[in-house]
């Protein structure tokens, strides 16, 4: 079980991500609505994994990744993004993120993304093709 911090300014995305992660057997250590909150919560909660939105008020997700990497080299960060934001995903990966989930987010995409980084959490599905999105 991973301890996970959810970072997204959208309530509906936080709610759905929370549900998906619990369904997948993980623990949601906390939630943050902005990059600034994400940095603070990461220091406090020391999660194993962060799901990080890119476009947020106060501080965007890429800047938050850079700030977090200044004090935590180990936490795994997965960006949550759209097809049109590949450049920003590339910047986030360069800054230290390990993967990404493309919107619209669903449980299978979250499971696949986690399993890509933590193979011990791989879940068998009937539709692997869907997970390749």
């Amino acid at each position: 079980m991973l301890n996970i911090l959810i970072v997204d300014d959208s309530l509906i995305i936080r709610k759905n991500m929370y549900k998906y992660l619990l369904n997948l057997g993980h623990n949601v250590a906390g939630e943050a609505k902005t990059g600034v909150q994400a940095v603070a919560e990461c220091k406090k909660l020391k999660p194993d994994l962060i799901t990080m939105d890119i476009t947020m008020p106060d501080m965007d997700g890429i800047t938050a990744v850079k700030k977090i990497r200044e004090f935590d080299k180990n936490v795994t960060i997965i960006m949550v993004t759209s097809h049109g934001q590949e450049d920003m995903v590339a910047s986030a990966l360069k800054a230290g993120a390990k993967g990404y989930i493309l919107k619209p987010v669903n449980e299978e995409k979250v499971a696949k993304s986690i399993a890509n980084i933590f193979p011990q959490y791989k879940i068998e599905t009937d539709d692997d093709e869907l997970l390749d999105d």
């Binding site: 300014d9 959208s10 309530l11 509906i12 995305i13 709610k15 759905n16 549900k19 476009t55 947020m56 008020p57 993004t81 759209s82 097809h83 049109g84 934001q85 590949e86 450049d87 920003m88 493309l102 919107k103 619209p104």
Partner: protein
């Protein structure tokens, strides 16, 4: 020349957004689009829906994009996002607002690339527009609009921007 400029705006900004909106509604959210009865116009004034969210693009093409939803459609979108989960009464307004924002965020984020060089357009966080009833074009701005009709009501898409910046920028690309 004016016709060509308008076509550029529509082809590069509005049509990709429209296409993505239709597929997002029907494929991802299960909201059937009745027809492609969208009407692409370049009006002087747009009547805004009560539920309207807005996003700005950054970089070489700077426009404002609004997405307005009829009440019943927004309720349906909220139910689709909630996937059957119940929401407390005190939370429902915030959930509705976040769905309104997330729909525009997902559609615009997935639809738009920079028409000049093919790179991604940066987008601002969505904001919600309250109390505004209409958008007026002045002589230095442009509005392009389309409406999608669904079984639960309409979605109104508009692209608004300073005429020179997005017409000039878009003219760099042959369409």
């Amino acid at each position: 020349m004016q016709k060509q400029d308008e076509a550029s705006v529509e082809n590069s900004i509005l049509l990709p957004m429209l296409k993505r909106a239709i597929s997002f509604l029907s494929d991802d959210l299960g909201v059937a689009v009745i027809s492609h009865s969208q009407e692409i116009t370049s009006p002087n004034k747009i009547e805004l829906r009560k539920n309207t969210a807005m996003i700005g693009t950054g970089g070489s093409v700077q426009v404002l994009i609004t997405m307005g939803y009829d009440d019943v459609l927004l309720e349906k979108l909220m139910k689709a996002f909630l996937e059957g989960e119940e929401v407390d009464e005190e939370e429902i307004d915030e959930v509705r607002e976040s769905v309104s924002s997330e729909v525009i965020n997902t559609i615009v984020g997935n639809a738009l690339v920079n028409p000049i060089d093919g790179t991604a357009l940066s987008i601002t966080p969505p904001i919600l527009i309250y109390e505004a009833k209409s958008l007026f074009k002045n002589k230095s701005s442009r509005i392009a609009a389309a409406t999608i009709s669904t079984e639960f009501g309409d979605m109104l898409l508009t692209v608004v921007g300073p005429k020179e910046s997005f017409v000039n920028a878009l003219n760099f690309k042959e369409l």
